[in-house]
């Protein structure tokens, strides 16, 4: 029983990690119309930047994370201008390949700067609490809480603010959006900035419970695609449900069935869901 509770806690923490990582991706999907394959690499970069500001620049933890967020936000704008704006009318496959290019570049860059080795980032928030006999570290609790809070804020922001609608509009008809006075370039830039900042925050929070390495983003990236698809592309509530349910499924499967089952769980669920509802749990299709 305590095992179950322990794993539930771990599942939630993992869910928090997945959600945080997924947010940025969902947002960018809104404007890009396609998953950004460089997402994992950006997440990785975010972690390294946080590490740099924390360890080398000696900033306080929270400040370091924010600094990293700022840098990535800027990078987001640069990417939008240099890569995605020129491609705005190109088919989605082109976006994909472009993001692969960006991914290659970022990974190689980080490797040149910080080397190929693993790095360990110590978080100031140490210690753990025991919940119903389960041991949960504060870092993980912070992750869960932040994930939920950020997601709710963002959902609210997108529903309420004109910016949220603008993103939707651009994705559905760029010319139409321009004609009603939305500035597609501006909106995409802002969106990229925001979502990459979020990616950095996610990385900054998660990095302490794992190691930094140039490859750290790869594995996560793919899980995250599965999540936003499961939730329905561009749907934040979807991302939350997707993130937590997949994480818990993964942990439970690997606990009570086998590690392989754990690894496969996420993809099995995904396939099952799409087989039944080809547009994800929260997704909708356009009518003719």
């Amino acid at each position: 029983m305590t095992l179950f509770i322990q794993q539930l806690a771990n599942g939630l923490a993992l869910g928090g990690i997945y959600c945080l990582a997924a947010i940025g991706l969902t947002l960018v999907f809104g404007v890009l119309g396609f998953p950004n394959l460089a997402h994992g690499a950006l997440y990785m970069l975010g972690a390294y930047l946080t590490y740099f500001f924390l360890t080398d620049a000696g900033m306080p933890y929270v400040v370091a994370i924010l600094a990293a967020a700022a840098v990535l936000a800027f990078l987001g704008v640069v990417l939008e201008r240099l890569v995605f704006h020129p491609l705005r009318n190109a088919p989605h496959t082109h976006h994909m390949i472009a993001t692969v290019g960006v991914m290659f570049f970022l990974v190689a860059l980080v490797q040149e700067v910080w080397g190929t080795g693993f790095l360990r980032m110590q978080s100031p928030v140490g210690g753990q609490v025991s919940v119903l006999g389960a041991q949960v570290s504060w870092q993980r609790i912070i992750i869960i809480v932040t994930a939920v809070v950020v997601l709710l804020l963002l959902t609210w922001f997108l529903k309420r603010s004109p910016h949220g609608q603008a993103i939707e509009a651009i994705e559905q008809d760029r010319t139409g959006a321009a004609l009603v006075g939305i500035n597609p370039s501006m909106v995409s830039m802002v969106t990229f900035a925001v979502s990459l900042a979020l990616v950095a925050i996610a990385a900054g929070l998660v990095a302490p419970i794992n190691l930094l390495s140039p490859g750290m983003g790869d594995a996560l990236g793919l899980t995250v695609f599965a999540i936003i698809i499961l939730g329905g592309l561009g749907s934040l509530p979807g991302a939350i449900v997707g993130g937590f349910s997949i994480a818990i499924a993964e942990v439970m499967a690997s606990t009570y069935i086998s590690v392989a089952a754990g690894e496969a769980a996420i993809f099995v669920i995904l396939i099952a869901v799409l087989a039944i509802k080809p547009t994800g749990i929260f997704g909708t299709v356009a009518q003719r």
């Binding site: 999907f29 119309g33 396609f34 998953p35 394959l37 240099l82 890569v83 020129p86 491609l87 705005r88 190109a90 088919p91 989605h92 496959t93 082109h94 994909m96 390949i97 472009a98 692969v100 290019g101 960006v102 991914m103 290659f104 570049f105 970022l106 990974v107 190689a108 490797q111 040149e112 190929t116 559905q172 008809d173 760029r174 010319t175 139409g176 321009a178 370039s185 793919l222 695609f225 599965a226 698809i229 592309l233 590690v259 392989a260 690894e263 496969a264 996420i266 993809f267 995904l270 396939i271 799409l274 087989a275 080809p278 547009t279 994800g280 997704g283 299709v285 356009a286 009518q287 003719r288």
Partner: protein, 345 residues
């Protein structure tokens, strides 16, 4: 009826001759022949991807996995089961065909990005099976000692050049098939689906079935290529079924030119040599490669072929018209009239 001076044909002829002479040219640099042979195998796989993505407009990310299934079928059958290559090769092709067909049944219910990610998940499942089902696949240990094709009379396949020509035959077949498809009803139905499923239906195309066939065919070709790959390398590890394979092939295809006849071929060769050349830059190479990819996508969006086509004098375009140089437009089906190519500043 074919204009002798048509630069397209000229180009094709040149490429063909170059490929035929490769072993002679590289007789001193055997490893380069290996590079070309490997590239050729990837090109074959890329032709498979070209059918489902280039013609039908569905982005399948399971392609690398199908490639891996082909490779492992040949690998395991020729080693653990000690089958001769030929029968193993045949089984590999059949296996991927069946696998492609079955997974197509579910995958094709989804559309656009959903299809892409669905197939990605599928690819991962296959990969996980390979990595985890140790008793069958030897997991990370991989399969070594994969057989060369057995000699046919005097033809000795352990000879690199022979192996190369063997691969080349399939490559030529793949290219020709693509050409024939593009100029056939089947091809037109697929291209029709790519541009507008509704319109395709309205002219009597059975969208569901056509997609299913295209997807199956693409899987088959991937499997075939995988089988060749296993035999050429002698050793295969799980990496031969990874998502990276898919991305590589996608890269070849896009750089070569989606939905074109020569695109997959040129793309694969070009990128393969790019990779080799950049090897000297060691880890810096990805710092160079990344931007190159981005630039190519931005400035040659229709790939090398598309780019070359623009250089072809107008008077030849007439025959060319049946060859859509244009890449697939948005996979997601948006109600008619709501897509636009207008400049928006």
């Amino acid at each position: 009826m074919i204009d002798r001076l048509n630069p397209r044909l000229l180009g094709v002829a040149l490429v063909a001759i170059a490929l035929l002479l490769a072993p002679v040219v590289f007789s001193e640099q055997q490893y380069l022949l290996r590079v070309v042979t490997t590239a050729a195998i990837y090109a074959i796989a890329a032709y498979g991807l070209n059918i489902i993505l280039g013609l039908t407009g569905q982005l399948s990310l399971a392609h690398g996995a199908f490639f891996g299934v082909g490779a492992y079928t040949v690998g395991l059958l020729t080693t653990d089961r000690d089958w001769p290559f030929w029968s193993a090769f045949l089984v590999a092709i059949l296996a991927t065909t069946v696998l492609g067909y079955v997974s197509g049944l579910i995958a094709l219910r989804t559309q656009g990005a959903y299809f892409a990610i669905f197939t990605m998940a599928l690819g991962f499942l296959i990969f996980i099976v390979i990595v985890r089902w140790e008793s069958l696949t030897h997991a990370h240990s991989g399969v070594s000692g994969v057989k060369f094709p057995e000699n046919i009379g005097p033809i000795d396949f352990t000879e690199p050049a022979t192996m190369y020509y063997f691969v080349l035959i399939f490559l030529a077949a793949a290219a020709y098939t693509t050409h024939a498809l593009l100029h056939s009803n089947a091809g037109r139905s697929l291209v029709a689906i790519r541009t507008s499923e509704d319109l395709a239906k309205s002219i009597g195309v059975n969208v569901a079935v056509s997609k299913q066939l295209a997807f199956t065919a693409s899987a088959t070709i991937a499997g075939l290529a995988g089988g060749l790959f296993a035999s050429l390398n002698g050793f295969i590890g799980p990496d031969s079924a990874g998502i990276d394979r898919t991305f590589e092939m996608l890269l070849f295809l896009l750089i070569g030119g989606l939905g074109t006849v020569m695109g997959p071929l040129l793309g694969s060769l070009l990128v393969a040599f790019l990779f080799e050349m950049l090897q000297d830059l060691e880890t810096y190479r990805f710092i160079v490669l990344g931007p190159i990819i981005v630039l190519l996508v931005i400035f040659a969006p229709r790939g090398m072929i598309g780019y070359l086509n623009d250089l072809v004098p107008a008077r030849f375009k007439r025959r060319a018209t049946t060859m859509p140089g244009e890449p697939a437009t948005e996979p997601a089906t948006v109600p008619a009239g709501s897509t636009t190519k207008d400049e928006v500043h």
